[in-house]
Symmetry: C2
Subunit: 498 residues, 2 copies
Amino acid sequence: MSERTVKPRLPRGLVDRNPADVAATDRMLAAIRESYELYGFEAVETPFIEYTDALGKFLPDQDRPNEGVFSFQDDDEQWLSLRYDLTAPLARYVAENFDRLPKPYRSYRCGWVFRNEKPGPGRFRQFMQFDADTVGASSPAADAEICMMAADTLDALGLKGKYVIKVNNRKILDGVMEAIGLGGEANAGRRLTVLRAIDKLDRLGWEGVLLLLQGGRRDASGDFTKGAGLEETQAELIRIMLFNNPQIPIAEATRQYLPNHPDITPSIQPGIDELSQIEMLIKDAGYLDRVKTDRSVVRGLEYYTGPVFEAELTFEVPGEDGRPVRFGSVGGGGRYDGLVGRFRGESVPATGFSIGVSRLYAALKAVNSPIVAGAVKRGPVVVLVMDRDAESMARSQRLVATLRGAGIPAELYLGEAGMNAQLKYADRRGAVCAVIQGSNERDKGVVALKDLIAGAELNKGAKTLDRDAFLALKQRAQIEAPENELIAAVRAVLARYA
Amino acid sequence: MSERTVKPRLPRGLVDRNPADVAATDRMLAAIRESYELYGFEAVETPFIEYTDALGKFLPDQDRPNEGVFSFQDDDEQWLSLRYDLTAPLARYVAENFDRLPKPYRSYRCGWVFRNEKPGPGRFRQFMQFDADTVGASSPAADAEICMMAADTLDALGLKGKYVIKVNNRKILDGVMEAIGLGGEANAGRRLTVLRAIDKLDRLGWEGVLLLLQGGRRDASGDFTKGAGLEETQAELIRIMLFNNPQIPIAEATRQYLPNHPDITPSIQPGIDELSQIEMLIKDAGYLDRVKTDRSVVRGLEYYTGPVFEAELTFEVPGEDGRPVRFGSVGGGGRYDGLVGRFRGESVPATGFSIGVSRLYAALKAVNSPIVAGAVKRGPVVVLVMDRDAESMARSQRLVATLRGAGIPAELYLGEAGMNAQLKYADRRGAVCAVIQGSNERDKGVVALKDLIAGAELNKGAKTLDRDAFLALKQRAQIEAPENELIAAVRAVLARYA
């Protein structure tokens, strides 16, 4: 080693995935894919790196140096970024291929995205999303369909009765903001601050949100986030319109709580109308038990222009302090009519939904869904090595090749340890069966097969089992078979635990 | 649009993937995965971002500002990089989890990697690799096994008889370099330049390599690459040992070509011995027709320490100038005993093989492999929209829901176009069947089904078909069914083209 030793470690907010994670996630993604294809969506994928200006700046929490996104300069000095979601790259893709795509264009994609944010529990800097989007349909039927598809997908994943898809319309909040004097280009920054404050209700509660709507808030680590500077009456109007019994119809809420704000109705009317249309379609399709309107949903991303959705799991899990908390959001989306338009100079209607795959995977584990629980995957058959001369190795290699030829996953032990360590290795690999052929067996033309599960029972029961049971187990734990019957004999051992 | 219009475009060397690419690649990856699992390898995945020092600097072509790798600073000023291969992150993973992993540790992983290099034809800045590695086995049996697995995998992908897995040993080149006076720490840089020059034989031919071994080479674009500064006699010795009939046994080559270099034999002997052991195992397993030793294989990555492998496709495709050229390399690998050791301060034996997935996909398309050709995927059933009032939309939505409930991919047309454009849309989606229910059909309690493939034939044949054939086709192209028999009727149309 000419270099000094390097510490093996991962940067914060990044994790490795073990075989069980990889396999369970693959099963989960296959179920989502099937659900999306049933709705007529087709696959399309974009690369991880895009021009920074093509992605745009729509992320919340852009208070860190690299503004929420990992960015670097190309050798022609143009800025590149790792994608922070799958929606902005889709907008670029649709704009670039606009004329040759069918419209409405329904597509889905699954992939890793990156956020240069402060990592925390369950908050990663690389995570997976699974998105479906309909571009080129302005009808609320497109929004309603996306919500119903989200519901069907969660049903297919074994979460029936354990979630609600919440629907709202960004135009209602926009209308409220206009009514309290935050309309117009000059107030764009403050509107964004209000939006992000409201999106944090889950984590901070109304008291925390109120601080962010007014002067600002200092978090536990001492970091200070500047507020939107609203007066108390302005913040109160937001509270009433969004959080005060948000399930009651907004027209009624207006009459009940806002007799002194007659001017609020026209500014929020477009949002209310779209929301009612979606609600009617959902009711008619029989999804009202799973898809519900809720005025407190706003979504933190800046690019939404109308309906917004949030998939919330309603069951409880132990929180950080051990007390039960709602599992919460596993996905969301909405209508973003301006995002493709950034490239084309004309508005292009688009709506979509994004599943947070890592969060959803955690949820499926929490409810022990069969999708992720599945059967324990057994390890390969391990052929042990007794003699290491070239001829013996070649003979053992042939045993392995015979098994593989029959479609049985198998391997030759390739390390340098002795018999006991080799058996331990086979156990650690999750193997059910080990194959041994020393010189004794070779001379007799046989192979010895160890049933490793019976062997483990034997070890545990050595002092407690009666003689007959012990002998029966011993007989089960190791058998001998003619070499030319290797495949059948191994299959018989594997079949004991299939 | 308050922003100016942005041009939708991708940075050079990056591409989007369409539905056919995504589906075909998935089938290809599944076949590779199955082959690797048959050999007892298990999945593990690492994130895309690592500490720059954990990845190390082993890439060729580090003459660009960012040195071949996309890098950026974290907010604690530590340097992070996008992974440039899957081997360096695996070494970090194994070192970090060393004590809890079974050894030998066999694992596989598939994923995107990034190179900040000059893109060119078939040369991308984001591409996919599929790796398998055995860590903790110093035996040449581990190397031989990896080569045989590579061969089995290419067989499984339909490339039987169309490839050769070439095996060599880096120690032979090291020995030659020692013999010509390039040994020792002081010459490490020049050795690397020699290595990279030799690795370019495929692209540049011996004349180009010779320039890089001596003074240097200016490429077509005018860029100059400095050479290793060898004298003619030194370069000639490399030519003889590596390229002069590289298939003949090296001991014989030494006697035949190098009577005046008696000191070369001891320095290349370790490499020759390992290579013979691998050759014997391969011969014994019956893979000599597919796995062959070839002294010209060196691999451009700096971290290899012994055996190196290259999977080369031997069939020809049209080259850039239209003349046929060998398809060439689709993967490679080798032994890298120092890579895990960088973290542990002791050498850890490891060997692996990496498939260039994008290159291999191009190859499978070139030979029209059934893995990528597959069946044409049909689009969903499209329910057309005649009336757009809320009640009609809800009725149409119910038809779609009925089909989906029966597991038939289906969608409601969500755009605003008229009948003809809707039929064109269904064609572009690859749909076989469109469902129509206008007020006429509704009043009769029926649905009209259009067979879009028969419809297309009808349009083409309108002027050439005789009356009977025309009427038969017309009858086939549109049928009517009772609404409560929708599923069976749609299935009957789909079955015509299954």
